[in-house]
Amino acid sequence: MSTTAQPINPGKLVERQQLALQDPDWVRWSLIVIALSFIGLFICLPLGLVIFKALSKGIEAYWEALSQPDTLAAIRLTALTAVVTVPLNTVFGVSAAWAITRFDFKGKSLLTTLIDLPFSVSPVISGLIFVLLFGAEGWFGDWLIEHDVKIIFAAPGIILATLFITFPFVARQLIPLMQEMGNQEEEAALSLGASGWKMFWSVTIPNIKWALLYGVLLCNARAMGEFGAVSVVSGHIRGLTNTLPLHVEVNYNEYNIVGAFAGASILAALAIVTLILKTALEWKSESER
């Protein structure tokens, strides 16, 4: 699930290859065929199947499944989660990248390692952490019950778990780029009389904007698609605490095939839009180098 790979430019990879390193034709063709059929079998086919299943009882049943109050509530909750977590993690990601690439402080390498923690921990564990903290039996459980604050089995818990899961995306995109760029342009801006704020908006942001958007995009995709951590803290209350991925699972378990796949089709469409935007961003940042 975790996708932190740097943008790659397929053209450049081949260009670098020496003639001596070129494999014989049959090797090349069989590798290409294997790669393509793998993608066809495990990515294109399931994606097609989602849409096929969603429309299996006709377009009307599809629309009906989508316009169910529970489905609409799941879409709303998913959107709310993304709207809260993505901006917060964007701010966090930029601050963390700034701190790591521009300052020297104790615990810097620890911070760099910890940023990756959500990638290395199973999402279920990430969810459980919040149950242990805020659940009825958790550390803050009594206090929360006393003050009638609901976090677990409610939207705040879902948002917290999603925040945790998605916080590396922006920082991970920015850190290598900002390290490579250095801070001379920023120093130049300051020496020309710019304030720190002005420098940030007119020099730093334009230089990192494509990587930043790329990180935000990945962060958003994950925020909307996260299942494991959210599943633990949600409580699966229909129409209240089901996000779209959870809604799909609930419907599927109840043999509501059209309902499940209609929800899945929205997630699939989101993935396709994400891919298109991602490719466009990569192309854009490549062409501006």
């Binding site: 001379q184 120093e187 130049a188 801006a189 300051l190 020496s191 020309l192 007119s202």
Partner: protein, 347 residues
């Protein structure tokens, strides 16, 4: 504007980058901070700019204490070694940046900005590039744009970090001359950092030689060259032959015409052009042999091998005009006599 640095020290961890630097730079000078890499020259420049903070000491610019001023309020122009042009802005916008970020009440109108930027671009002779982006320019062009950008805010002091470091040799030669002329026209107090002694001697009106975070000598290029204050400066500026009187060299130096009696020092530095050679007229034990020579344009550099009685041999370099060398009609392997016209003595 004049610059006064008093008691500037800076440590990076346990490493002392600058140790009690006191320096006065009169108005209108073009000063080179010269020294080997790691001597603290760039750190000193960055401290003057306010990009780095000194552990102790004060910085006064035209009599006013600017130690606590932020880099953005210090009134300096800084040209970075790798230019640091804003890559997402055109040349025009790069130069205009310093004017556009001024607080609203000081900010000139668009028409004035336009005129000023074009004037500056004309000054650096690159107005025709105003709508290009930095990555479309050559190194020399970027350097000049960086200079124009720094000048746009009318700094009281111009600071340049290795301004010619990243350029190829021919461009560097042109730019040196150009910078000298520009400084002559603008007369803004300027400091540049370099590790190239030739560059410092050619461009600067004052040279400050630094080593291990300390100032070794400050003076005009001719003072630095003709009266080096210590062995480091003498060895760092120009070519020099080093003889140590502790060894067998005393006798030999006397036969070369240098009196060693009244000298206090123990180490002798002799510039190659202070050695005169002639075809040997008599046999002596400590003879000198012509090993090889190289053409340096108008000069010939002569490589000599000096054999001592103990059987040790050492290389000595001499320089003389091409024409004069031809008249001597020397061949490789010939014995020669030396005359040392002038030497510096150090402890």
């Amino acid at each position: 504007m004049s610059i006064l640095l008093s008691n500037i020290s800076k440590k990076f961890g346990a490493f002392s980058a600058l140790d009690n630097i006191n320096l006065e730079i009169p108005e209108g000078e073009l000063v080179a901070l010269l020294g080997p890499s790691g001597c603290g020259k760039t750190t000193l420049l960055r401290i003057i700019a306010g990009l780095e903070r000194a552990d102790q000491g004060r910085i006064l610019i035209s009599g006013q204490d600017r130690t606590e001023h932020d880099v953005s309020k210090r009134g300096i122009g800084f040209v970075f070694q790798h230019y640091a042009l804003f890559r997402h802005m055109t040349v025009f916008e790069n130069v205009a940046f310093g004017l556009r970020v001024k607080p609203r009440r000081d900010r000139p109108g668009e028409a004035i900005i336009r005129k000023k930027v074009h004037d500056l671009l004309n000054l650096v002779q690159l107005d025709w590039l105003h709508d290009r982006y930095p990555d479309q320019l050559s190194g020399g062009q970027r350097q000049r744009i960086a200079l124009a950008r720094a000048l746009a805010v009318e700094p009281s002091v111009l600071l340049l970090d290795e301004p010619f470091g990243a350029l190829d040799a021919s461009v560097r030669k042109d730019l040196r001359q150009w910078l000298r002329n520009l400084h002559h026209d603008l007369n803004v107090t300027s400091i540049f950092v370099t590790h190239d002694q030739e560059e410092a001697m050619e461009v600067a009106s004052q040279v400050v030689v630094l080593n291990h975070g300390k100032i070794e000598q400050q003076g005009t290029p001719s003072e630095i060259y003709d009266q080096p204050s210590n062995a480091f400066v003498s060895g760092f500026i120009g070519q020099t032959n080093v003889f140590d009187l502790g060894h067998q060299d005393a006798d030999w130096l006397q036969t070369a015409g240098l009196s060693t009696l009244q000298q206090q020092g123990k180490i002798v530095h002799v510039r190659p052009h202070d050695i005169v050679i002639e075809k040997s007229t008599f046999d002596n034990d400590a003879f000198v042999i012509l090993k090889d020579w190289q053409h340096l344009g108008a000069l010939i550099r002569i490589e000599l091998v000096k054999n001592s009685v103990t059987g040790q041999s050492a290389s000595v370099y001499a320089e003389m005009p091409n024409e004069q060398f031809k008249l001597l009609r020397l061949n490789k392997g010939d014995k020669v006599d030396l005359k040392i016209r002038h030497a510096h003595w150090f402890h």
